[in-house]
């Protein structure tokens, strides 16, 4: 099988130590959380850090007993494993959409290692990029790694690798904030601003910064859901994700956000679709209008499983399905 190359592995015990070691190790170093994304990438040699700094031993990043819940919402630790997230009773009760999205990630075994923070920082994916060194040599490499052309769109100046996180579109939809800790101090960014629509430069996080906290807003009259499309019911990354969030006031939609996953290099909000349901009671016509509005800008590229035409078409089905599910939860 593919084996890991040799590399230096560091295990800092504090955030401070991690930040210092990172800046000392320079650009050829990377942080690692659960490793379920980075290590396979290293085996295929498309991520090649010489120094890997593990965040696993940093107590500040681990969950502290029950997740802290305050009037201002819930604070989650980035090194919480996906299994912990799925099995947390508090989260299942108050934020079922998070548990649901996490449960749809990969396989039980990988969820035991994979973390919330790792999934949110997941490297963008592309079936020209997630290939071994030998394979990529046969296409003379690609823009994202060692090459000059994006094979998905050869005339394009940018990389079109796909944001394939299941939790990212949900965080954007529910309006989460992320706390970043870096050598220059702390800052908070909205989830929507954490991601950028560029397959290479897909995070606004600087490489030296560490995602230290995930703050999700309080449950004050909103419902959200996440639908995931993939070939198989386990294991596979999404080829389309639909995160839908709706605030309900006086039997009507007061606010809404619909965010598509896996069709761009970032979770892609579709404000046109959200606008179509605001003020409605989520009646069939409004849902249909929203589904159509989401379908139009949904432009998957030919770099995941399934054909792009079918994936685009499924946007409509999935937005419709997600909104109908929300209606059934809200109109009771």
């Amino acid at each position: 099988m593919l084996r890991l190359p040799s590399f230096r592995y560091l295990e800092p015990r504090t955030l401070k130590e991690a930040l210092r070691w990172k800046s000392e190790s320079g650009p050829e170093s990377m942080y690692v959380a659960g490793g379920t994304d980075l290590y396979p990438n290293m085996k295929r040699r498309h991520q090649e850090p010489k120094v890997v700094i593990s965040l696993a031993r940093i107590r500040a990043l681990r969950p502290k007993g029950r997740s802290r819940k305050a009037a201002s919402g819930l604070t989650l630790a980035p090194m919480m494993t996906l299994t912990e997230l799925v099995e947390s009773e508090g989260i299942r009760e108050s934020y079922p959409v998070l548990a649901r999205a996490a449960e749809l990630i990969s396989t039980p075994i990988l969820r035991n290692m994979g973390t919330l923070g790792g999934n949110l920082c997941l490297d963008t994916r592309c079936n020209y990029y997630n290939q071994s060194y030998e394979w990529r040599k046969a296409i003379n490499f690609c823009l994202k790694k060692d090459g000059a052309i994006c094979w998905v769109a050869p005339s394009s100046p940018r990389c079109w690798a796909v944001n394939s996180s299941d939790l990212a579109p949900v965080m954007v939809a529910i309006g989460a904030d992320f706390l970043l800790v870096g050598p220059e101090g702390e800052r908070t960014v909205a989830a929507a601003d954490f991601y950028q629509n560029d397959g290479i430069d897909y995070l606004s996080k600087h490489p030296g910064e560490i995602l230290a906290e995930i703050r999700v807003p309080p449950r004050d009259g909103w419902e959200a859901t996440y639908w995931k499309l993939r070939r198989r019911g386990s294991f596979d990354f999404p080829v389309l994700g639909v995160a839908a969030w709706v605030r309900w006031e006086e039997q009507k939609v007061a606010e809404a956000r619909i965010v598509l996953g896996a069709v761009a290099s970032q979770p892609q909000p579709v404000p046109e679709a959200a606008a179509a349901i605001i003020g409605s009671r989520l009646d069939d016509e409004a849902i249909e209008e929203a589904a159509l509005a989401a379908f139009r800008p949904s432009k998957p590229m030919d770099n995941t499983d399934f054909g792009l035409a079918w994936r685009k078409e499924m946007t409509r089905q999935f937005v419709r399905g997600a909104l109908k599910e929300l209606r059934s939860k809200l109109v009771e």
Partner: protein, 845 residues
């Protein structure tokens, strides 16, 4: 429910009757037993090839071609050799002798000699003190290529005779062209009430064994080579090593390690095996090579993508008047088993339902992709898919129930088909009845609500090929038994355990004959120094052939023991029974001796007790060129009903349940039989719904997705429920009547699902895999008033050779081709030679 049945069989207490009495109750055979290697497997103690570590062992890696088709201008290995830790570098010139599994297709080189033919073709090899250094060294090998125009598809191969991928083959980029006619099909079509024509496509898929191929080679100071390998065919690897390395077979020992799955993908001699051996010889140190998953995709030898055209004429009662079948196989870059695969796409259409006149045209082309070969069902799932959907369409046109149509026209048992296949026991009717009843077919077919449906399909498969790969008149399987005076028995056989349970079969049948516990039998297999030849784990031959050889050896041993014990007890040997670890007088069961004592008595009387058995299949009935593919000592039969749920908005197909009945002749171990059936259903389900070997034609013909994650194969979640029915109709040719089960039950699954999709939403998906995209396209076409169908619409023009015309048995034929009487009537050698067309050069040489 089937688990219950197995347990029930195993716990049933049966009366012992005299050993040689016909109808003697069996004590081991037919009952559930643990596999002999089960504990080692589940506790992680089985040593696979990659688990072997020898002192001073080096690690090898292969440099593979980044071009689909190119001439090698120059290779410079100097820099790689200079890297510290590198011990040797090989290129094509070090191993210039070609090899290949079939004598007619000796078209592979361990390392490309002058040309590369697909992305992934091995070009150079490095042995180093670590895998990491070997990998680094690959990048230091400088290869200058002169790219040639790649051939991406069969259509391109037909259109472009140049550049030729190989300088042999029937013409241009055609590897093989076949044209056979059994009776006048045009006359048959003229007599038909209905003639139906259609095209089908069956996509290529790969075996995806859990274990990646690995090999370890050792060269002894005395000049003897030992190779451990995850291979299904150690005997053929032995021959290939001897040929390429120019060593006498007596100086080569091949040991097949237990395979972590094979499914046909480890049946060829491979580049990495020869390279490891050569590197061991060059360096004088043991060398290990373990392929990556991606490299396993390049070894491939999987299902041939096959385009098919079917024309069938039927009477109003559904009886076939004539069948004309064409197939076009995308062979990939090398021959492999391809000539046999091509024949197989036309061979078994005749053994299920009566076909009085039959015409087959098959073509295999070379393309610049990893080579295709034998995958579970070898060449027969593709035509079976086409034929079973075709029958479903015909049944609908005739207004007949598809189960009824099939039941009415079954091939009779113990009969000869139009293409001279000798059918023995034939349990297909019972299989159909079982699944029809079990699935509630009559209440469901064309009666379920829109979106849900059921479909039925049947199939048959060989129990071992009638002919070996290379011409010889030797047994195909040999067994030696050694009886220890302590009562232990060792079975030696060249057969290869690939997880299918072949080691266990040897223990069970031997234990049955000798009346001892299967776990008192040691099984030594797949070692060319220790075991007599068995040709390998392919073509579903192992249970039948090794089983018969083992029974023969065990009978000989039993006779020796019986003779010695009879003397001691002063009874005739025929009154002795072997059971429960004793040899006793059936008329006075208290009088007897323990099995160990029986061995001691025999050893005292006759010397060391070792016996042998061997098995040679009966000669084929056909004597025409090409008659060598299809004949088998027996044929297994399967019938399946699939139930599906189709979401008309997304096109997504789910398969909740498959009911499958399999005529296995006689279960040796019902639990492993059921395991093979469920495994076959699983693999068929994957081919039906998602598996696809796809290449990027516009990106240097790279394999699109050579990984376990992106090559989609079902997981436990996608696996359907399987309700299995075992039909036991013992075949006179099988050991205790047993027939195969490893491959046949895959075949009805894809067409049953396709037929069920039609029942559910009224669209025909005449192309595997049945993806949601295809279903949705067909549904949209239907909504627009077009044909609700997705599939190929035409079959290309192919320069077929003149047909070989063979009158079927009922038209006075004797198995020889028209105008060929004199030659065909020759002696046994001549007959076998002609039948063994694909054995080719060696056969005729």
């Amino acid at each position: 429910m089937d688990g219950d049945r197995a347990v029930q069989v195993s716990t049933e207490v049966r009366q012992a009757v005299a050993a040689d009495h016909p109808g003697r109750e069996k004590r081991v055979v037919g009952r559930a037993h643990r596999k002999v290697d089960a504990v080692a497997k589940v506790t992680g103690q089985t040593r696979f090839a990659d688990d072997l570590f020898l002192p001073r062992m080096l690690f090898a890696k292969l440099l593979r071609s980044p071009h689909p088709h190119a001439r090698i201008v120059k290779i410079d290995t100097r820099k790689a050799l200079e890297l510290e830790g590198v011990k040797a570098v090989l290129t094509g010139e070090d191993l210039p002798i070609p090899f290949g599994i079939l004598p007619v297709s000796q078209d592979e080189h361990a390392l490309a000699l002058d040309k590369v033919r697909f992305v992934g073709d091995p070009v150079a090899a490095v042995a180093a003190v670590s895998e990491e250094i070997a990998t680094q060294a690959l990048d230091l090998i400088e290869v200058e290529y002169e790219p040639l125009e790649p051939i991406a598809s069969p259509e391109e191969a037909i259109a472009k005779p140049e550049p030729r991928i190989h300088d042999y083959g029937d013409r241009g980029n055609f590897h093989k062209l076949i044209h056979l006619e059994f009776g006048n099909v045009e006359q048959g079509f003229a007599e038909a009430d209905l003639v139906v024509e259609d095209c089908y496509f069956y996509q290529g898929s790969t075996h995806l064994p859990m274990e990646q191929h690995a090999a370890v080679a050792e060269w002894s100071p005395q000049g003897k080579l030992t190779l451990w390998s995850s291979t299904q065919t150690p005997h053929y690897v032995h021959r290939a090593l001897s040929k390429v390395l120019q060593l006498p077979p007596s100086r080569i020992r091949v040991i097949a390690c237990p395979n972590g799955g094979g499914f046909g993908g480890k049946s060829d001699p491979f580049s990495h095996e020869i390279v490891a051996a050569k590197l061991a010889m060059v360096t004088g140190r043991p060398v290990k090579i373990t392929l990556t998953r991606e490299e396993v995709f390049y070894c491939h030898r999987g299902r041939h993508p096959t385009l098919m055209w079917v024309k069938a004429g039927v009477k109003r009662d559904g009886s076939v008047t004539a069948l004309h079948f064409k197939s076009l196989l995308d062979g990939g870059a090398y021959g492999s088993y391809g000539v046999a695969s091509t024949y197989y796409t036309g061979a078994l259409q005749t053994v299920t339902y009566q076909v009085p006149r039959y015409k087959f045209q098959g073509a295999r082309v070379f393309t610049n992709k990893p080579p295709c070969g034998p995958k579970r069902g070898h060449g027969t799932p593709q035509p079976r898919y086409a034929l079973e959907i075709h029958l479903d369409k015909i049944a609908e046109r005739l207004g007949m129930d598809p189960a009824e149509l099939r039941l009415r026209h079954l091939v009779p048992p113990h009969s000869l088909t139009a293409n001279y296949l000798r059918v023995g026991s034939m349990g297909l009717g019972e299989c159909i009845r079982k699944v029809v009843e079990g699935s509630g077919w009559r209440e469901k077919f064309r009666k379920l609500p829109y979106g849900r449906g059921v479909g039925l399909a049947c199939s048959s498969y060989i129990c071992g090929a009638g002919l070996p790969i290379y011409w010889n008149n030797l047994p195909q399987s040999g067994v030696q038994l050694k009886l220890d005076r302590g009562g232990g028995v060792t079975v030696y056989c060249g057969s290869t355990e690939i997880g299918q349970g072949s080691d266990s079969i040897l223990a069970y049948v031997t234990a049955e004959v000798l009346g001892i516990d299967p776990f008192d039998i040691a099984v030594v297999t797949a070692d060319t120094d220790l075991t007599p030849v068995d040709l390998g784990s392919y073509s579903s031959r192992v249970t039948l052939m090794t089983g018969n050889a083992a029974i023969q050896a065990a009978h000989k041993a039993r006779d020796l023991l019986a003779s010695a014990v009879a003397q001691k007890l002063d009874v005739p040997p025929s009154r002795l029974e072997f059971a429960g670890g004793r040899v006793f007088d059936v008329q006075d069961p208290e009088r007897g001796v323990a099995f160990a004592e029986a061995v001691q008595l025999a050893e005292a009387a006759f010397g060391t007790i070792c016996t042998v058995g061997s098995y040679t299949p009966p000669p084929a009935a056909g004597r025409y060129r090409g008659a060598g593919v299809g004949p088998s000592p027996a044929y297994s039969y399967s019938a399946a009903v699939a139930e599906v749920e189709v979401d008309p908005e997304t096109g997504i197909v789910r398969v909740p349940t498959i009911w499958i009945a399999h005529d296995v002749g006689q279960c040796i171990n019902p639990v492993t039989v059921i395991g093979q059936i469920e495994g076959s259903v699983y693999m068929g389900l994957g081919e039906a719904l998602m598996e696809e070997m796809v290449y990027r034609a516009n990106r240097n013909l790279v394999h699109k997705i050579p990984s376990m994650l992106e090559y989609k194969s079902p997981t436990t979640l996608e696996m359907c429920d399987v309700v299995t029915y075992l039909v036991e109709d013992p075949d006179p040719s099988g050991p205790f009547g047993a027939k195969e089960v490893g491959q046949g039950p895959l075949l009805p699954v894809p067409p049953a699902i396709a037929n069920a999709v039609y029942d559910a939403v009224g669209v025909r998906i005449d192309e595997i895999p049945i993806t949601p995209e295809k279903v949705l396209k067909a549904l949209k076409a239907k909504a627009k008033g077009d044909a609700g169908r997705f599939g190929p619409i035409s079959f290309p023009e192919i320069p077929w050779p003149d047909p070989i015309r063979v009158p079927p048995p009922w038209e006075g034929g004797d198995g020889t081709a028209v105008g060929d009487k004199g030659r065909g009537a020759g002696g046994m050698r001549e007959r076998r030679t002609r039948a063994g067309d694909y054995a080719g050069g060696e056969a005729r040489g």
